[in-house]
């Protein structure tokens, strides 16, 4: 009997969300909360503070989608996922989307049945070593012990790279960045490998960041993108175009500060389409007119997000590099809003 009690209690409190298998959009709207899978803790990209409030680059994309869909950037439940659990929690429906430095690869898209919506960060895998080691190139790492996160593309790239250069190494598998940091700082591995952005983020949390160097070799392409389940095209479109809206906003010079004035400028057709003052693009996504405006107002445009969370003026200190707008030498290129 007591078991029944808990089942019923669960149902009543809304923790069991049974839905007649509808689209993700309807699920999210009915629930009133967006379940967003994020990293368990990667400074700058997604980490909870001491009170459990989440912030960071990836987290901002969750909030943008929540603002676009639900009208409130705080209506997000952040589900911390490790490299191991992220895709299963997406596949099992525990989360509606993943905004968690995940690389877009062929196998993941086709074998794991995932849809990567649009790259929001172009990255590449690198190595970090203590300066004292006296290593200046990844090619000098013959025989080294290397810390690598499990369940990521990183460990496959690592294996490939060392094989390609005919070198030997010993992997130390770790589960989270916090664990990796402990191991690396204790000297249990010579080098730490992950995406270059992750290395910078990790180094920023060290007591003496200057004692560590990131080696010049970038051994892989890592286009990081938010992920949704395959098969729900409407939901994929919503997430994809929310990302594009943030990128487009930067290109058009729309910021969270000037968005109200900008949305009044009806003589600018591109702006009017994006911000919903003229066309109703949102309707085709199953949203209202001002979806993009809300998303931008909530978290700022792509450039603002970047600068506020991982940019040059933050402890992470990443340069825009590949992630600058396409007309400024980068790869950030929003598809046209027509």
């Amino acid at each position: 009997m007591k078991k029944k009690l808990i089942w019923a209690a669960v149902a009543a409190a809304g923790l069991v969300a049974t839905t007649a298998h509808a689209g993700t959009l309807e699920d999210v709207k009915a629930r009133g909360v967006l379940n967003c899978g994020v990293n368990v803790g990667l400074a700058g990209f997604g980490a909870p503070d001491a009170n459990g409030n989440w912030s960071g680059f990836d987290v901002s994309f969750c909030r943008a989608v929540a603002a676009a869909v639900l009208g409130d950037p705080t209506k997000v439940k952040f589900v911390p996922t490790t490299g191991e659990t992220r895709f299963t929690s997406l596949a099992s429906g525990e989360v509606d989307m993943l905004a968690r430095n995940s690389t877009w690869t062929f196998k993941r898209e086709n074998d794991l049945k995932l849809t990567f919506v649009a790259p929001n960060y172009y990255d590449g895998q690198g190595f970090m070593v203590p300066k004292a080691l006296g290593v200046s190139s990844a090619k000098e790492l013959e025989g080294a012990t290397i810390c690598v996160q499990t369940g990521t593309t990183t460990e496959l790239n690592l294996a490939d790279y060392f094989k390609q250069h005919n070198m030997k190494y010993t992997p130390v598998s770790i589960k989270t960045d916090a664990e990796g940091k402990q191991q690396f700082l204790a000297g249990a591995c010579d080098a730490y490998t992950t995406d270059a952005s992750g290395l910078a983020a990790l180094r920023a949390t060290f007591e003496k960041p200057a004692d560590y160097v990131i080696l010049p070799e970038i051994i892989s392409k890592e286009p990081l993108a938010p992920v949704v389940r395959k098969g729900d095209d409407q939901w994929a479109s919503i997430v994809r175009w929310t990302v594009f809206a943030l990128i487009e906003a930067e290109e058009l010079g729309v910021t969270s500060k000037n968005i109200d004035e900008m949305s009044k400028m009806t003589d600018h057709p591109e702006l009017a389409r994006l911000l919903g003052s003229q066309d109703d693009l949102g309707g085709e996504l199953g949203l209202d007119k001002e979806w993009a405006k809300r998303a931008i107002a909530a978290v700022g445009n792509y450039g603002e997000i970047f600068e506020a969370t991982i940019g040059a003026n933050t402890p992470i200190g990443l340069a825009r590099g590949l992630n600058a707008q396409w007309n400024k030498g980068g790869l950030m290129y929003a598809m046209p809003f027509h």
């Binding site: 009997m1 007591k2 078991k3 029944k4 009690l5 808990i6 019923a8 209690a9 669960v10 149902a11 009543a12 409190a13 809304g14 923790l15 069991v16 969300a17 049974t18 839905t19 007649a20 298998h21 509808a22 699920d27 368990v40 803790g41 980490a47 909870p48 001491a50 009170n51 459990g52 439940k77 952040f78 589900v79 911390p80 996922t81 490790t82 659990t85 299963t88 929690s89 099992s92 429906g93 525990e94 989270t176 960045d177 916090a178 664990e179 940091k181 402990q182 700082l185 949390t205 060290f206 007591e207």
Partner: protein, 432 residues
């Protein structure tokens, strides 16, 4: 008349020889009985002294107030010299709330606290038999109350759920006259009907009249010892009925039910808890209707219940095996039905015998709650410690958090094991 040749007063006892009394005798008998014995004593004492000498300065140089590990070390160096090392309890001072409550909203700490106190009150009538039996009604209603306090939401939902039990019970008493089997069926139907069709509107209506709501706290905010205790207590409370059923099933005359129980118990006992937790986190939603997802903490509680139920079944089976056949035969001879015999004769004795075993299952379960870290829940050992060490201020601190949470675990588990020993002794005297 006095007789001169025997003494009327006692001789004062003579002091035993020097080697046979006091500390010297004790030392000789207990520490230096033989050469090997002396050697072992010396080695043992040397180890103790060495440990104390190693650890004492560290404990003596404790720092309680600091904002970061670096500051802590500065204070130690300034106060006790540059080579001194000291414990930095400031990390506990700063972050104790996360160890106890995880990321539970700070202004709502009174809720789990109250729930904990009320839980103790709910356990009292189960542990102390001389309390009035009416209190058991409160114990039965407690799960709903505790759930409401910890997770929040509207209290009427809980009332509506309890209403289902009332509906079932009413139906049962009404139909009982006709047939007991039928009554059970009707009661289940009535309760299900209530929950499926009436509970939601009733909740809505009541909430509209008087919204008794607490802020909803999502499960991912739970962590630390709060999570451990919730998982541990739920696991033990729900696994007890499951364990009783399984143990009865395993001893049943009906081959089908016996086989099922044996398979269930052995399979669950044969796999590590971690694989069950993985199942909870990765696979459970595959086995539910498409689109159903529910809270990870609840999934973990379900798996822990199943796991501990299988162990509980074996503990209770041990108790059942210890009951003499005569008891079964006497119950049969009195014309009691199977369930009457179990309820009135067998189970009270079997459970009493198994209490120490049940307590040690609980200790094991409570220790095993730390494994929730493997499904990314914030357990007090590794989950919270990783979160604390992940912050720039406390990176590199490792002894203090482990000692702190280890000590709390020790107090809980040691206390419970002593309680179970006390029970064992107490039960031994009045039994056989």
């Amino acid at each position: 008349m006095t007789q001169a040749y025997f003494r009327t007063d006692m001789l004062p006892p003579r002091v035993p020889p020097r080697g046979q009394r006091g500390a010297l005798k004790w030392l000789r008998e207990n520490l230096f009985a033989s050469v090997t014995n002396s050697a072992i004593t010396v080695i043992g004492l040397a180890i103790v002294v060495w440990l104390v000498v190693q650890a004492f300065p560290w404990f003596a140089h404790s720092v309680w107030n600091a904002k970061s590990l670096a500051e802590c070390r500065d204070i130690v160096h300034q106060t006790w010299g540059p080579d001194a090392s000291g414990a930095c309890w400031a990390v506990i001072h700063e972050r104790w709330n996360q160890y106890l409550y995880g990321f539970y909203p700070m202004d709502a700490y009174w809720r789990p606290n109250l729930a904990f106190l009320l839980m103790l009150a709910a356990l009292a009538p189960l542990l102390f038999t001389h309390l009035p039996r009416q209190l058991l009604w409160y114990s039965a209603a407690y799960p709903a109350l505790g759930y409401w306090l910890v997770w929040g939401g509207t209290a009427w939902a809980m009332v509506a759920i309890l209403g289902g039990f009332v509906a079932g019970w009413l139906a049962f008493t009404l139909v009982k006259r006709i047939s007991a089997g039928l009554a059970v069926a009707v009661a289940v139907l009535a309760a299900m009907g209530w929950w499926l069709f009436l509970a939601a509107p009733v909740t809505g209506a009541l909430a509209a009249v008087a919204p008794l709501t607490l802020d909803f706290v999502p499960s991912d905010r739970l962590g630390g010892f709060l999570l451990s205790i919730i998982v541990g207590i739920c696991g033990i409370v729900f696994s007890l009925p499951l364990g009783i059923l399984l143990s009865l099933g395993r001893r049943s005359d009906m081959p089908l039910i016996r086989t099922f129980s044996v398979f269930f118990i052995e399979i669950i006992r044969g796999v590590p808890l971690i694989t069950l937790l993985f199942t909870a986190s990765f696979l459970l939603s595959y086995f539910l209707p498409p689109g159903t997802t529910f809270d990870l903490v609840l999934r973990v509680i379900i798996m822990v219940t199943i796991f501990s139920g299988a162990y509980m079944a074996e503990t209770i089976r041990g108790g059942l095996a210890a009951i003499p056949r005569g008891q079964y035969e006497a119950a049969d001879a009195l014309g009691l039905t199977y369930w009457q015999a179990q309820r009135l004769i067998i189970m009270p004795q079997a459970l009493k015998i198994s209490i120490p075993g049940i307590v040690s299952s609980f200790i094991a379960l409570f220790k095993d709650t730390t494994l929730v870290i493997f499904v990314a829940l914030l357990d007090p050992l590794k989950g919270i410690t990783d979160a604390v060490r992940g912050s720039a201020e406390w990176n590199g601190v490792y002894w203090e958090p482990y000692i702190f949470s280890g000590a709390i675990f020790f107090i809980f588990c040691f206390g419970m094991s002593r309680y179970s020993m006390y029970l064992e002794r107490k039960l031994k005297t009045d039994h056989r």
